[in-house]
Every structure is written in C-alpha cells, then in structure tokens.
Symmetry: C3
Subunit: 264 residues, 3 copies
C-alpha cells in the first residue's frame, strides 16, 4: 500500500549539504559529451570533486578510488558502454554507490538495451524525467527527445515499480520532483521553467545525486536533498537572471553560496 | 546572370523567428566536441530543442524522429563520420532537411574528402566561412585553421557555384553574411568582431540554420533569418559586454529575449 | 647546485603578452573532453587561436601547420593516444614546440604509461600540479584525482629532476607556481583559491603555456609569463565575482583586457 507523497523537509536538505561540504566526495562521472563542463562546475560549486576517467581499464581503476559513480547514457556509444560497464562492476566490487541517468531511454535501441542491463547491477539511485522512468520501468512513454512529454506525478507509479524492481532510490523530476524507495515518497518543490532552457540541469542533478548518495545517513533523504539543493539554487538564479545566459553563472554562484537559511 | 546581393528584410527575420518559437523544432546535432554545450544552449535560447545522439545506429533512428539534422566536421574522426553518414541517409529517407558545416575543410584530408562525399547527398543548406566555402566548391583557399583568410564577399562566386552544384542554400558568413541559392543572393549585416573571440559562434549559427530550415516557407529566407537572428543578438550582446566572457551570457539572454522590434 | 626560486618580473610578463598578441599563435589542442570549450575561449581571450583536430592523420597534418601543440591526457583513451603520438611526432619533425599536461598521472595505468613514453619525445614544457609532477618524475605522490595532495614548493625537486631528464621547462603550479629548467627557478605568485572551484583553469593554463612557448625569446620566461597572465586575470576576476559562476565570464574578460599595468 503506497502512501501519498510527503513534502521533503528543508532542514534535512541543510544537514545533508553540510555533510557534503565536510566530506567533499569524489564523483566519477561517465556522462554525455554535451554537459561535461557544466556537470564538473556544478559539483565543484556545491563542494564535491568531479573526475571524468573514460578509458575502460582506467574507469574500472578509478571507480574503486572515487566515492561514487555517475553513469549517464546521453551520448552513448559502444566504447562508452564498455567503460561504463567496467566502472559499474568495479564500483559494486568496491562497495561504492553508483547512479544511473537514463537520458532519452525509450525509442533509441543502444541506450535502452544497455540501461535495462545496467539496472540489474544494483544502482543506488536512478534519476530521470517522467518519460525516461516510464520507459525504464516497462511502462509506455511519450518522450521524443531529452524533454519529457509526461509530468512527473503521473510517472510516480512507474518510479515506485522501478525502485522495487532494482532496489534503487528513484527520482522522477520535473516541475515537482518525487523521490521514492518504492513505498515512501518524498516530494521536492522548486525549480523554474527557465531551467529547461539551459542544457544539462537534469544531467548535473544526477551528478549531484551521485555526490549525495556517497554520504552516510538515509539514502532516500540524501537523494531528495540533492534535488532540493538544485531546485533552490535554480529558483534563486532565476530571480537574478535576465535569461538562460545569465542563469548559468548565477546558478553556480548560488550553489556555492547556498546555506541552510536559503534552503528553508 | 547573377543579380547583386539584396539586403535581407528584418520583417522576414521576425516572422521566421515567430514561426520557430511556435513549432519548436527538434534539431539533431552531430557536431564537434568543442561547441556541444554552447550549441545546445543557443538552440534552447532561441526556442528550438537540441539533441545529440551519436552512436551510428541510434543516430539513424533519431534522424527520422528529429525535425532537422546538423553535421559539423570540426572534430571529425572515422567513427563520427560513420554516424554522420548513417544519419544523413536516414534524414534523406525520412524527408528531413540536413545542414553541413564544413569546419576547416581545405587542407585536412579526412574532413575534406568526407565533406565532398556529403555534399552529393542533397544538403538543405551549407554554412561556412569564406575559405571553407571556396575549398568545398573546388576554388582555392587561404584558410589555415577555423578562421577564414578570405572575406565573405570574395567567396560569393564560390558560394553560388556550390549552391548550383548541390541544390543547397549556401551561407558564406563573415563581417557580412551572404545567403544564396546560386542565383538570388541575400545580404545580412550585423555581428561584431568580438564574436570571433568566442568559440562556437559560427558552429552554433549552423545549428540555428538547421532549426530554421525545418520551418515551412522560403528556405533561402529562412536561412537568412537564422543569420540575422544570430548577428542581431550578437550586436546587442557586444554593447552589453566588457569582453568575450560577459558576451556569452549576454548573447544567450538576447537570443532568448529577441523580438521583432530588436530585429528591425 | 640549485639556486633559490627568484620572483618572476612583471615587466617580462607584459612584454611576452604583447608579443603573443602580435603573433597570434595557432595552438593545436589535443585536450580532455571536459575543458575543450573553456580552453578555446581562454586562448581566444588572450589573443591566440585554438584548433582541436583529433583524427590521427589530420592531427599529424595539423601539428605541422600550427605554431604549438598541447597534449592533455585528462580523458585519455587509446584512440586519443594514437592521435597524440602522431601529432607529437609531426610537431617534432616540423620543429614546432609541444606541451604536456599530465592530468592525474600516478595511479591510473594508461595515462601514466603513455605520459612516461611522451616525455621521451622532447616536450618544450610540462605543466602539472605537485602530485602529477612528482609521479611523472618517479617520486611518490599523494594525489587522488585531479587535485593535488602536495603543495607546489615541495614538488620543486621533482620538477627540477624532470626538467633535467626531459629538457623541458617544467611548471609545477598551485598557490605559488614554480617554473624551472632544472637549475634556475622562477616563482610566480597570484591566483586565488576560488580558481580551484572552476573546472579547467589548470588545463587552460597548459594551453596558454603552449601559446607562449611558440614565441621567440627565453622559453623559461615565456612559460612563467603564461602562469602570471593567468594568475593575474584570476585574481582580478575573483575580486569581481560572487562565486565560481560569475568568475568564469569575469576571468575571460580580464584575460582579454589584461595589459602591462594590470600585470605589475
């Protein structure tokens, strides 16, 4: 019996962010070609350390050194898939958490089949939009590209199914973000439509989720904290920006300056 | 008998931009490693949707889903060429327009030979600087890298020849931009020398050309509209910027805020 | 007998920067996936021209055309290594200087073995942080990722050893930068801790080193000038920025506007 979504507490987000800045997790990012720089800058701004190590052998070596691993299939090719699989296996062997961002999974064959293989390898978390989460759970989807044709609430049943099936915390993000372990569901408000006019805000969120799942404590609350940190910095940046161009520096500044007071 | 270049009308640019924002074309970008993020942000700012799908099989699947395809050979490798060729063939089969940006074609073998093959596959438009257009047309060139050693007007005969030879609308861009179908030529003023100090303004223009060729209406005017939208946002941004760093956010903001009044 | 580090003279930096802007060197960058756009924008802002040509055959062709070559192993794969080796050999044959940035060399096998091969091919300069320079010199290191666990002064003996062994000017950078030919050592102050929260400042410095080694004159002083130009623009940008987001445009603007007066 599934409970209704519960609003995520701002004080939990503040505590998790404080923990993150103390522990400075090293996040191994195997992500798409488009968002590498933005992803690294987002991680640096919140107080984590990014590293992109992409050769299959090195990726496996590095997954054991890093505190968490991100796998994002946005510009997947077969060589990328080889490195990702090697890194996931090494992370699992070393007991390090890893996060999947199933970008545009659904209609495209290579990424869809590969993501269906990956979710059998115990991801700590999965972060996607409504159509990606639906597609990954086996439910139908209306996505045409990286933008979702579904709203996040309508994909909550798919997110719950996917969480139960994989053991991962599943975050389905959109105007509202929902973070579920299959039963309990946390709702995270915030963000702004302007964020959909900047490439990589969703992909960077998945990297931030990877940073937060490296922390001790309740994993579901840590994933919700990642969502809240990003949506809060996004809201503040939108108030300060003229458009998507000035949003980007303002967003990174706000991530860097964010504290418990802003998160309330 | 070739007519003199005619100034492109601002009201046509305004109409095309309005159409673009209503139809929100999905542009499949197979572009170079350096400009992926900027290209995506430019497309999002004007009101189009970017997607970079690079595996050969997926690129072919996606070319049939997208509204237009961009092929930019700036950091070409053989695996990229395979994906580009598959995508162009799929786009042609699905009746979707595609655009070529022949970055630094001339002295470098792989990209030159590949671009000469591609132009036989009915591109909707080709956008390059003077030395690239000369080289692609078989005329001699003085380019040494991505920057052109020729001015755009002097390459207009080469552009006309290339347009007649390929059936594409050819845009040769520089201080002035010339857009030709082989006979009629539209001249688009604007831009600023500061834009040459920011990487990817030309590459992003080609992506914007791809977004505009997905629109109904006169293709040559749509390509000229793409040039004018970019040069107008660039001029405004240069007035607001201290240098190339502050130009970038100002440029994206101006693309986002641009309206018919600004285009006049 | 090694002399103590000597403060690098601001007037030498100003002269070198003036020379750079007159000669506008074309820098061939074979660098990592994360920093390509930022690297290109930094080179454009200081008055150099970047070009990323990555196919092995084209990279070899282009290395002979460019004025200098940068090799950065941050996201090394075997295909990248093939292109880098071809480009280094072509640069050497054409008498063009090349620079190595040994990102995260130490614990990761492919990049470490490859960098140890490369340093036998007469680099003009090597730029790294303390743990990278230690690892490359065969001394032990404490680095875990791209951030150095050592301070730059403590790695000066390793830098001197590496310089004598390779014939390269070695720059070991951190809070203070030290530039050595194995005997004489120039100390370059400046920079700001905020620069460590922005991805690619070190990688872009290596590209700027490549631009400066293309200049005539004392190579060691030219490398020190590259360090000073970057640290000076960084300091100015930090005074103007709210955080790492606004640092980026301010940094590029300051590089563009930098003159002899600011460098003093």
């Amino acid at each position: 019996m599934n409970t209704q979504p519960v609003d995520f507490s701002a004080s939990h987000a503040a505590t998790a962010l404080k923990n993150l800045r103390v522990s400075n997790p090293l996040v191994h990012c195997l992500t798409n070609d488009v968002v590498q720089s933005f992803t690294a800058n987002v991680l640096l701004a919140i107080g984590a350390s990014p590293a992109m190590v992409v050769d299959p052998t090195e990726a496996a070596q590095f997954a054991a050194i890093a505190d968490a691993l991100l796998v994002n299939v946005g510009t997947l090719t077969q060589p990328h898939a080889d490195a990702m699989l090697a890194a996931v296996q090494a992370a699992n062997q070393a007991g390090k958490p890893w996060v999947l961002d199933p970008v545009a999974v659904g209609g495209l064959t290579l990424r869809t089949e590969f993501s269906l293989t990956l979710i059998q390898l115990t991801p700590a978390a999965i972060r996607g939009n409504a159509s990606e989460i639906r597609a990954l759970s086996g439910m139908s989807s209306t996505g045409r590209g990286v933008d979702s044709g579904d709203d996040s609430l309508s994909a909550l049943p798919a997110a719950r199914k996917l969480a139960l099936q994989t053991g991962a915390i599943v975050a389905v993000t959109g105007e509202m973000d929902y973070v579920t372990d299959g039963e309990r569901c946390l709702a995270v408000r915030g963000g702004d439509v302007l964020m959909t006019r900047v490439v990589g805000t969703g992909c960077a969120l998945s990297a931030v989720v990877a940073a937060f799942v490296a922390l001790p404590g309740d994993r579901q609350e840590n994933v919700a904290a990642a969502c809240r940190v990003m949506s809060c910095a996004g809201e503040l940046a939108c108030q300060q920006a003229r458009g998507p161009g000035s949003f980007i520096p303002a967003f990174l500044d706000n991530l860097y300056l964010l504290d418990g007071e802003a998160l309330q």
